[in-house]
């Protein structure tokens, strides 16, 4: 016993000593700032992102092995280090980084975060620092570009995009006696009637946030706010918005939509329910192709536009933007890399590994090269972004909190949407 305690002390002392020594040697300040101002010294850029995609290295490989070397070759004196951050933790890492002034030179962030970080002063406004910003911006999809706007300036450029389309299976169409995917609200309701008694749910989704319900509201001719983002009342609770949500509620109460949509995390997920013909239709994005190929090799998904209502077929824009934190001391070099991300070279290389281009010309080229992207590219032409305001995450909370009681019947859709609109009005007023 005595000996092992002595050993413990020795270890502790050695460890403490090692700590002090390495601590001292490791604490040299970084030279980045000096390097940037000198101009001739090499500039080392750091970029954070989530291309790692759960151990699937296809995207990081293209970035690290092809694109970054190509950029470095054409921009002598600039090096780029890409650091992969776990997806669920990127926002937390950006937040703590902003608080301590420890942010990278570039970041690939969710489109919903740009106004939020911009309003806090974390991001550099690219339209003021890049003289060719308008040219670059005009080449991208308007729906994607809009997610970068905040308070009269643009704080990023679109990097990749996606949207949700209607996905169904031949087995479900057969069971409903239909020859093609439902193209309109009416056809969707017909399909629901045809599926009654088969044990197959018409449609499934996993929540009631903007990402989930806005395609229905927009397609039904409704809106969430006016164009100037000043009020939600009169838009979110308009007759068209209410009718679209009412359709979902009616289907839910007729058991054609399972309680996954109201937050039962124990229900079969959409990605499992569709291939197993438990669900006839879902709304989903282009990333599902790889997942299904791996998990359900025998399943052939059928992609179609979101069913059209009075407002046409309108889906929701997803994707990522590239931003430059205002704290970066290498703004010019970072802007060079942002320019590079908008090139056909970058956009098309990423398209091959599952990232849809945001530059319209590259988008059509990618859709031609890989017909799989065609329905998504078509849908993107009319797709809209969610509210580009700093409190977009609160909008999601409001929508799902207020709509849940409407689905379980404890309140009406009209009341739920009116309440939601009032709360969103308050957010708009404060921002």
């Amino acid at each position: 016993m005595k000996r092992s305690l002595t050993a413990l002390t020795v270890t502790a002392v050695v460890a403490a000593a090692a700590l002090t020594l390495t601590g001292c040697s490791g604490s040299t300040p970084t030279e980045d700032a000096a390097g940037a101002t000198a101009g001739t010294d090499p500039v080392a850029l750091t970029m954070w992102g989530t291309y790692g995609n759960g151990g699937n290295t296809a995207q990081t490989d293209v970035l690290n092995d092809t694109l970054i070397p190509s950029f470095e070759a054409s921009h002598p004196g600039i090096t780029v280090e890409y650091v992969d951050i776990p997806y669920d933790s990127l926002k937390q890492k950006l937040t703590t980084g902003a608080a301590a002034g420890e942010l990278p030179d570039l970041a690939r962030v969710d489109i919903g975060w740009v106004p939020q970080f911009a309003s806090l002063g974390v991001l550099a406004s690219l339209d003021e620092t890049m003289d060719d910003f308008t040219t670059l911006a005009d080449a991208t999809y308007p729906g994607s570009l809009a997610t970068n706007a905040w308070d009269g300036h643009y704080y990023g450029l679109p990097l990749d995009t996606n949207t949700r389309v209607l996905v169904t299976s031949q087995a479900a169409l057969d069971a409903a006696g239909m020859s093609a995917s439902p193209a309109t609200f009416d056809e969707l309701e017909t399909m629901a009637a045809n599926l009654e008694g088969t044990g197959i749910a018409l449609f499934a989704d996993s929540g009631l946030q903007g990402w989930n319900v806005l395609p229905w509201i927009w397609s039904g001719g409704g809106e969430i706010t006016d164009e100037g983002l000043t009020t939600s009342s009169g838009y979110l609770d308009s007759a068209a918005s209410v009718a679209a949500v009412q359709m979902l509620v009616d289907l839910y109460q007729a058991d054609a939509i399972p309680n996954l949509i109201t937050g039962n995390s124990g229900a079969t997920s959409t990605s499992d329910g569709l291939p197993s013909t438990q669900y006839a239709t879902i709304l989903d994005g282009p990333w599902m192709r790889d997942i299904w190929t791996g998990q359900y090799p025998d399943f052939t998904p059928i992609y179609a536009p979101v069913p059209a209502g009075d407002g046409g077929s309108v889906s929701v824009v997803g994707g990522e933007d590239i931003v430059i934190p205002a704290s970066s001391s290498n703004q010019d070099a970072a802007a060079e890399f942002v320019r590079f991300t908008q090139s056909d070279e970058f956009q098309l290389a990423m398209a091959q590994v599952g990232q849809m281009p945001v530059v319209e010309s590259a988008g059509s080229a990618a859709a031609q090269a890989d017909p799989f992207y065609e329905p998504f590219a078509t849908q993107l032409a009319t797709a809209k972004p969610r509210l580009a305001i700093p409190q977009s995450s609160e909008v999601d909370t409001i929508l799902s909190t207020e709509l849940t009681p409407a689905f379980d019947g404890s309140t009406t859709v009209q009341v739920a949407l009116t309440r939601a609109a009032e709360q969103i009005d308050a957010l708009l007023a404060s921002s």
């Binding site: 016993m1 005595k2 926002k91 937390q92 937040t95 902003a98 608080a99 301590a100 002034g101 939020q116 806090l120 002063g121 974390v122 929540g207 009631l208 309680n259 109201t262 937050g263 039962n264 995390s265 124990g266 229900a267 079969t268 704290s327 409190q391 995450s393 609160e394 909370t397 799902s400 909190t401 709509l403 849940t404 009681p405």
Partner: protein, 318 residues
């Protein structure tokens, strides 16, 4: 040296009920205890207490995340906002429910297993490892697993409905507030038993066997021996486990986030998931800090009350 202390130990434990404090001559303020405290205290105050005070300070501001940004002092506004926020109260109630439902089983079952495992035999180390395995398995993995166990067509519904016919086997456990919280509690209990077992095992090693054997001679049955000999001897450990589990219960976070994410419609939101959402999703650090401070105050008061209760019943007081 070991043998000598042990024989001293045995002699001493025979009079275990005698007061336990070292009685030292009254002297001027002794520097020794501070020397023992200093290294840990310096680290603790510098790296925990100081940030704690900064976090409290944040709660008094409309705090801007950005380094160097000017935040507005708003006094207790964040606190009055919490008082008027139904989600805060629901989170507090849910955290409290989780604590109340998950703590007693962890104590009772953990102690029971420790009693069964304290004897020395070749099989005991194997059992100990088996009971400790849930503690070391990652929260992410076990939360995912329990989500599947409690899924609509998961194992729990299969066993209760198809095998035992206790219900129709179609309970949507995770679709409503209380059933979802029960599922989360089940995970907490399952994962926590090994932890309390460990503490009790360590504590039971200190129960003087001579006393227990004397009790057997006196004809005491198992329960009497437990109550008269074991329980008083492990009292400090029991106090520790109770206080820690209550704190841990109020701080439930990862399992909720991964099993229900606070849903449906915010019904299973607990205080820490709500705090996390305010701070790291809405970037409202002032409000997030206020929620954290309120949680800390509730738990601190509860802990002091518990420790007082344990003290007043104890005999080893100074």
């Amino acid at each position: 040296m070991l043998d000598r202390t042990q024989s001293v130990a045995v002699r001493a434990t025979e009079s275990v009920s005698v007061a336990r404090t070292v009685r030292r001559p009254r002297r001027a303020i002794h520097v020794t205890p501070y020397l023992f405290l200093a290294p840990a205290l310096v680290l603790f105050c510098g790296l925990i207490v100081y940030p704690m005070m900064r976090a409290f300070q944040m709660s008094l501001y409309d705090w801007k995340v950005l380094a160097g940004a000017t935040s507005t002092f708003i006094g207790l506004d964040n606190y009055s906002r919490a008082m008027a926020d139904p989600t805060f109260w629901r989170g507090l109630a849910n955290s409290g429910f989780y604590m109340a439902l998950s703590v007693p089983p962890q104590i009772v079952i953990g102690l029971l297993i420790a009693m069964l495992l304290k004897a020395k035999s070749p099989a005991q180390p194997v059992y100990r490892v088996l009971f400790y395995l849930p503690v070391v398995t990652s929260w992410v993995v076990v939360s995912l697993l329990f989500k599947y166990l409690f899924a609509d067509n998961g194992l729990i519904n299969y066993v209760s409905g198809d095998l035992l016919h206790l219900g129709d086997g179609s309970t949507s456990w995770l679709s409503s507030r209380w059933t979802a919280l029960i599922a989360i509690c089940a995970l907490g209990v399952w994962k926590g038993i090994g932890w309390s077992m460990m503490i009790f095992l360590a504590a039971l090693q200190g129960v003087p066997k001579s006393l227990e054997e004397a009790a057997v001679m006196d004809g005491a049955n198992r329960w009497q021996r437990f109550r008269v000999v074991t329980l008083p001897a492990i009292r400090p450990a029991l106090a520790f486990v109770v206080v820690m589990l209550v704190i841990g219960g109020f701080n439930v976070f990862t399992s909720v986030l991964l099993m229900t994410a606070g849903g449906p419609g915010g019904q299973t939101e607990v205080l820490l998931t709500y705090m996390y959402r305010q701070a790291f999703t809405n970037l409202d650090f002032g409000y997030g800090s206020a929620i954290a401070v309120l949680l800390t105050v509730v738990v601190f008061v509860l802990s002091l009350v518990q420790m007082r209760l344990f003290k007043s019943g104890g005999e080893d007081e100074r």
